[in-house]
Symmetry: C2
Subunit: 306 residues, 2 copies
């Protein structure tokens, strides 16, 4: 009676030798599990340690891939912040239900007490979108979108673009990481970061600089207690969630790294995966949706060592 | 520097006398807070205690409005289950990141130990959708949808409809509550219920019977630790989250009820609210999306007493 068939957007695909194969009789379209099982090494790409952040919490490691091509200045600043250990000992200060968690210096508004910057910048011009460039990878999702004229995937990131306006941008799907800002559009820079923990808040697209995506450990952020103050800020200092450290993977000893690979989004395999999620072949599904929305397409991740 | 302008899909609107008013100079379109502040009693409707479930957890009360018009048989069965205290002492057995929590009898598969039913039924024919009826309330959202030809709101529930097929159905937005089932479409009935805690899994629409929506206490469900077993099931009995009780509001003494009102979705006020979320007039917003997706439209709730 317990529903074991309630299959989901598989987030972390562990390596497995199990091949599902076709049942006897009429061949069925491949399900995502079959597609993953049939992948070859060429279907995957390793995370680049130079563009990967490890955020260490008491509960474990959150891993963020940085989107160098979409927010180059913010990514460079976030890397500078990580190198000077800006966030170590700071905290998650906000958890708002169906929205975001946010980490920052709790004393950022106190000139005397706030964490000092070394080489990193306090603020940067916004990178809400960037110029469209045909050389940017783009696997178009043909299912349409409520917010943008075109959506798809670029090097593992959900993106949108508007050819007429000549712009492309990262999209606020679950797990998207961005730079919090004040009312002025150039008031962010990466010292305060947030991650989306609820239904995709697409109204934020092109209103905040997105700079990456959580690829492992989302459950450590999404299951945090919600803050009781306005906008989900924690009311008391002791409710905040300490950041043990936020470092670049490249600065962590090789033996302590988490070796992850992301399914490439520029392959026929990925197109087949999209189709397997658009029309679900698993027995449990009675009705085939025929469409899939951008943020419902899973981008599988697997661990290769450790 | 801390982003206090990062305004959200307001979920619980507490009564407040604060009027925001227009700033001097050019009048601005009303923001949601202004619209809520200007509502009159006619804009709200009280929850019907006969169609409201209180799920009592150690952390507090989760309140679910039942969708009588969309799943009449399941709602009747859920009410029968609540009246015979079927869930009292059972547990949340599953919490899967970016997907659902599910509560049920952990011993449901053990014939000797499972909780016995009295008047309620173990299974029911599916109510994945229902016949279109022009008498059903429907406030159409004109922004389009990836999954359905028409979407909108019916008595406070996000719904979709297909006039050509003559069908209408409840939609899996954040907080939607449905009846878990096994592979057979008539294997559900309400003894196992789930609530959506992540990005709207619209692929489930018309594949499971939805029967209600959480209107208060979502954060008590969404912040639960994720289960480490497949599909987010808790691995150990002691990880499960006990249900103190699940009762109809009408069976709870009046003094112990939570008096909630929901903003009516068949009013000009609600249309104005949609517009205020489609194009955000708050100063923080630099870019106006011009569109809004069904599950991003907030359905405000307020407490009137207690």
């Amino acid at each position: 009676m317990i529903n074991r068939y309630f299959v989901t957007g598989l987030f972390m695909v562990l390596l497995t030798g199990v091949s599902h194969g076709a049942l006897a009789g009429k061949p069925k379209p491949a399900a995502m599990a079959d597609i993953i099982a049939a992948t070859t090494a060429e279907d995957w790409r390793a995370l680049d340690p130079e563009n990967t952040l490890y955020m260490e919490l008491a509960g474990g490691r959150v891993i963020i891939e940085l989107a160098l091509k979409y927010a180059p200045n913010h990514v460079a600043n976030v890397k500078a912040l990580a190198r000077e250990h800006y966030w170590d000992g700071l905290a998650i200060i906000r958890s708002q239900d169906n929205y975001v968690v946010q980490w920052a210096d709790p004393d950022a508004e106190k000139p005397e007490q706030k964490r000092k910057l070394k080489n990193a910048k306090a603020t940067l011009p916004a990178e809400f979108d960037r110029a469209f460039d045909p050389k940017l990878a783009f696997t178009r999702l043909t299912d349409g979108d409520v917010y943008a004229s075109e959506v798809g995937f670029s090097d593992g990131f959900p993106v949108a673009r508007d050819k007429r306006a000549g712009k492309t941008w990262l999209v606020h799907c679950y797990g998207a990481v961005g730079a919090g800002r004040d009312a002025a559009i150039d008031s962010g820079g990466g010292t305060e970061l947030y991650a989306v923990t609820g239904h995709s808040p697409r109204q934020l697209d092109r209103n905040v600089t997105l700079l990456g995506r959580v690829v492992q450990g989302m459950e450590l952020l999404s299951s945090l207690p919600r803050g009781a103050a306005a906008l989900g800020f924690y009311e008391k200092a002791e409710q905040r969630v300490p950041l043990k450290s936020v470092h670049l993977a490249s600065e962590v000893p090789v033996g302590e790294r988490t070796s992850l690979e992301i399914l490439r989004t520029d392959t026929k395999t990925f197109l087949r995966l999209i189709e397997a999620r658009r029309n679900r072949p698993e027995d449990w599904f009675h009705y085939q949706a025929g469409h899939i929305e951008l943020c419902n397409v899973p981008i599988p991740v697997r661990r290769t060592r450790n």
